[in-house]
């Protein structure tokens, strides 16, 4: 008992010294090396998405041409950021049509669980990541036009693979045309009317303010500093 304690004690000291030795030498070696990073985005030799690691998980992309409408991805999503609605085509009752395929990229945690059950590989992570928005609801990607929708893909059992458009091209097109700047789907409640200023409780404890702000559904501009819009701070 005593010997193990002593060994732990001396071992802790030894670990400290050794880790200091290696850690300090590593940081010092980086001090005299050329920095690996380049300034973003104006000095990169190529587009950043082309320099990302191969398994990078960016925004989800759905190739409507090979989507079977099986809703496996919707069921797989642990946080429910995918919403799919299937309807019958009024013209052709045998044909089902996807009229809503919304992915809320603001909620998505890029876990990749929706990609795995997809039978055709229609839903995939791309390497796109730049989509700063002033309104969080604009981060909803609508892959089906609500008016027309797209017909589901009939799986060919004998097919070796399913023809898919180039990965990322659809997302990129949406990003570049800002087509995804659409108003959000219905699972986002409409923004509640802001209470008038004088009705705000003035004597709320300051510590409770951030929690209250986080719980409130009203989304604010993410760029604003959290301290600045605290309701209980007053200007001196």
């Amino acid at each position: 008992m005593a010997t193990t304690t002593v060994r732990e004690y001396t071992g802790a000291i030894k670990d400290t010294v050794v880790s200091f030795w290696h850690g300090l030498s590593i940081t010092l070696s980086h001090l005299v090396r050329r920095p690996m990073t380049v300034q973003y985005p104006d000095r990169t030799p190529m587009h950043v998405r082309d320099m990302l690691p191969p398994r990078y998980r960016g925004f989800l992309e759905v190739d409507a041409a090979i989507c079977t409408g099986c809703q496996a991805c919707e069921r797989a999503c642990p946080i429910g950021c995918i919403q799919i609605t299937l309807e019958k085509d009024p013209a052709n009752p045998k044909q089902r049509v996807v009229t809503q395929f919304d992915i809320d990229e603001a909620k998505c945690m890029f876990c990749g669980l929706c990609v795995e059950p997809c039978p055709t590989g229609s839903i995939q992570h791309t390497r796109e990541f730049e989509a700063s928005q002033s309104d969080i609801r604009n981060l909803v990607f609508r892959w089906a036009d609500p008016a027309t929708g797209f017909p589901v893909y009939k799986v060919d059992k004998t097919a070796e693979y399913y023809p898919r458009v180039e990965l990322g091209s659809l997302v990129r097109a949406k990003l570049e045309t800002r087509a995804w700047d659409a108003p959000g789907p219905k699972f986002f409640p409409p923004e509640p009317p802001r209470p008038p200023e004088e009705k705000k409780p003035a004597a709320k404890p300051a510590a409770a303010a951030p929690a209250a702000a986080a719980a409130a559904p009203a989304p604010t501009a993410p760029a604003a500093a959290p301290a600045a819009d605290k309701p209980t701070t007053e200007t001196k």
Partner: protein
């Protein structure tokens, strides 16, 4: 949104603005340093009198009020300059730390404003001063406003006894090092008041953690400081420096093997007391937002920042004083300084030159230690609260006691055989040099193993 193919276009700044900022950034520290150099001996009463007589006045004929007023004015000027020196040092330290940290993390940082990003800290300070000064509505108004000043005063008071050179010290208190420890306690009081008065849970936790941490680490620090005090036989900062020699094997850190242990303990305790990584628990960004200064903004936040980075200088200077021989210039002794004074009422040019040399030595040593602190910050992660307490009470305190007692025994041996000090000094210095060489080789190996080479471009 895809990146538009806009070529990088640097912002154009007027030449006059660049020159002005250059003047502010570089000339001001130099001028301040020079002024401190001149002023701090001159505020000694005898020398002040000599200066007045030298300038054509007749000090003896002055009225007591005039004497007191002139003297208070000189002391006030010196204090103001020291405070500003602390502010500028803390600013430049911020800049340097950001440069080093970005480099250590293989990235580029702080290179947009001015020469090598040097004016970033000035821009930040100006921005902070112009920002809105928020006081939370539920905060304790008076204490919330007062707390930064406690912290600032606790920081500024250390400069009273901080040596810069042979005669360049505001006041060579004969309880100097003791005084330094005691006035830094004001910083803790300020931090606790800030944490409490903010009326925020994060700030409160930060303040409590800070108090627990600083009180705990004062014990090993105090015992470790006893080791150089024992070897020097005095509490005065200048006395401790004079008890050491100019060469590495004459420094306290190398003359006595237990003093080396004491230095390590003292250094760790200083990091903890200065809330530096890996002991930045009071302001742990990932858990406590910013700890005790969460609710602060504008000028008051700037004060906390000033103190935090200015403390690096104080920490390094105290370590240099206690363990690294202070301002001792190789090739000189105390007698050299005495001889250079000359017969006149004011000292001769040789004396001022020696003062300058001692100042340079001290500053260089201090900057080396300061860089080690910065280096450690960007190497280690933050430790947990229980690890922090374990380190203090289970490791540092026993080792501090051991080194304290062992130093006593070592002093008995040295009193009998004076050659022992020389032997241990030489051996320890050699060992340290070898370890340093092996370390540098390891560093080089790290670089070559990664297929890279030493490259100081793109700095």
């Amino acid at each position: 949104m895809s990146v538009p193919a806009i070529p990088y276009a640097p912002k154009r700044t007027a030449k006059s603005v660049v020159l002005l900022t250059l003047a502010v950034g570089f000339i001001l520290p130099v001028a301040l340093f020079g002024a401190i150099l001149v002023l701090s001996p001159l505020t000694k009463p005898a020398m002040f009198e000599a200066l007045v007589n030298q300038l054509g006045g007749n000090y003896a004929a002055w009225s007591p009020t005039a004497k007191a007023g002139a003297y208070a004015g000189a002391a006030a000027l010196l204090g103001f300059m020291l405070l500003n020196f602390g502010a500028i040092i803390s600013g430049t330290t911020v800049w340097w730390e950001m440069r080093v940290s970005s480099r250590m993390q293989s990235r580029i940082g702080y290179n947009r404003v001015g020469a090598g990003g040097f004016f970033q800290w000035i821009a930040d300070a100006v921005k902070l001063l112009l920002k809105e000064d928020l006081v939370p509505a539920e905060a304790d108004q008076l204490l919330f406003r007062a707390a930064p000043y406690f912290v600032l005063v606790g920081f500024a008071l250390t400069f009273v006894a901080l040596p810069f050179g042979e005669s360049i010290i505001a006041a060579d208190l004969n309880v100097g090092i003791f005084y330094m420890i005691s006035v830094t306690a004001l910083v803790v009081v300020g931090i606790m008041l800030a944490g409490w008065s903010s009326n925020s849970k994060w700030a409160l936790f930060g303040g409590m953690r800070s108090a627990a941490q600083v009180i705990s680490y004062e014990i090993p620090a105090g015992i470790a400081i006893m080791v150089p005090i024992l070897m020097a036989g005095t509490l005065s900062m200048q006395g401790i420096i004079r008890a050491q020699g100019p060469w590495p094997w004459q420094w306290f850190v190398f003359t006595n093997p237990f003093a080396f242990v004491a230095f390590i303990i003292f250094f760790i305790a200083q990091l903890a007391e200065g809330n530096r990584t890996p002991f930045d628990l009071p302001e742990a960004d990932s858990e406590l937002v910013a700890g005790y200064l969460s609710e602060y903004s504008s000028f008051r936040f700037a004060l906390y920042f000033l103190v935090e980075f200015g403390n690096l200088w104080v920490m390094a200077a105290v370590a240099v004083t206690l363990f690294f021989g202070g301002w001792q210039v190789p090739g000189t002794t105390l007698q050299t300084f005495q001889d250079a004074i000359g017969p006149g009422p004011l000292p001769g040019a040789a004396w001022w030159g020696l003062q300058l040399a001692s100042l340079v030595v001290f500053v260089v040593k201090t900057l080396v230690v300061l860089n080690v602190i910065v280096w450690i910050r960007w190497t280690l992660p933050r430790i947990r609260v229980d690890q922090m307490m374990t380190l203090c009470w289970k490791y540092l305190v026993p080792f501090a006691f051991v080194s304290f007692v062992a130093t006593l025994l070592w002093m008995i041996v040295v009193a009998r055989y004076p050659v022992a000090a020389t032997v241990t000094g030489g051996v320890l210095t050699a060992v340290f040099a070898v370890v340093l060489a092996v370390f540098l080789r390891q560093t080089k190996a790290n670089i070559t193993a990664a297929g890279d080479r030493v490259d100081l471009t793109h700095w």
